[in-house]
Symmetry: C2
Subunit: 206 residues, 2 copies
Amino acid sequence: MGRPRTPLIDRERITTAALELIDETGDFGMVRVARRLGVQTGSLYHHVQGRDGVIELVRARLASAIRTEMFAELPWDEAMAAWARSYRAAFAAHPRVIPLVMISPVRSPLVLAQYEQAVRSLLESGFAMNDVMKVIIAMDNLVMGSALDLAAPDTMWEPADHTSTPLLAQALAVEPEGRGDAAFELALDACLTRFRTMAGDGGTAA
Amino acid sequence: MGRPRTPLIDRERITTAALELIDETGDFGMVRVARRLGVQTGSLYHHVQGRDGVIELVRARLASAIRTEMFAELPWDEAMAAWARSYRAAFAAHPRVIPLVMISPVRSPLVLAQYEQAVRSLLESGFAMNDVMKVIIAMDNLVMGSALDLAAPDTMWEPADHTSTPLLAQALAVEPEGRGDAAFELALDACLTRFRTMAGDGGTAA
């Protein structure tokens, strides 16, 4: 019958193992990834370019759930809202990945292509070239912060008693369901409203 | 001469050890904190209430650099801008703390008192009670995402070549110095502009 043709490891399995380690411990190491897969550490290097390469695989895994095809189909602001919502959902499922990808340069071809789509949409909508990255980074930051918040516990403020924070207690008491969604949508709407004043600008906004 | 009066460990030293571990590895454990301090793990529990207690000490350490006294002195929007800027700077110095504090409930009296100040300022400025937490959480999310970005490398997008992402390459080429600051200020201004329409609202904004 011969040996099974499936290799013991491949990039998908390496990605899954690293993602599990990050979810559990906040980080990963090549040795721990190899141990989890039951292989020698050196074998990993036949498949990935070290730690940075693994971070890019994890980034690409999460980004594969992010929708950017709308940038070619919808007005830039509708596309950006859909992008931001799917982007937030993708990373909220793995909040501890967030600091790792945010402090490591983007090299994943898939993710770079997603940014290219966003840049093209903004340029075609008349944004000034030197405003484009500012707008995209502002959205990135809002999305990542809001993704972390989506992973927060339902009760985020827990005073020992409310005597020293009576107004916070009142504000928390009337907090509606889905506070995280409402806060995200409020900031998203605020940003898109501001960005609309920059579309068709052709010059430099402040 | 007697023994030195300084105890081997105290809350400050525990906080420092945990913060160092988080900066280095993305997380901490009670055993590793004790090992770093050269004490038995059990000794830690005379000073802190377990892992959650240590997270609160770390949160309070960083929050001690956040300015909220302006909420009693300045118009709410100026105070909120100053709060957001100092808040971002405090956490940007320790980006890997961010996911830990964002997925753990706030119990630090210092931090709760800071939120109380913000809530009071917004209520006195006429924000509706059920808008207050939404506004504060929106700012929290923007600040934390932008703090992570401040810890990012200068060159954040690194295509292998620019042939498949020509527009991204152009947008990056004209990116000004301090892209992170400009993106943060843009989103901050967008949010404050939107929030101003809610001040004095007394009712419920969308």
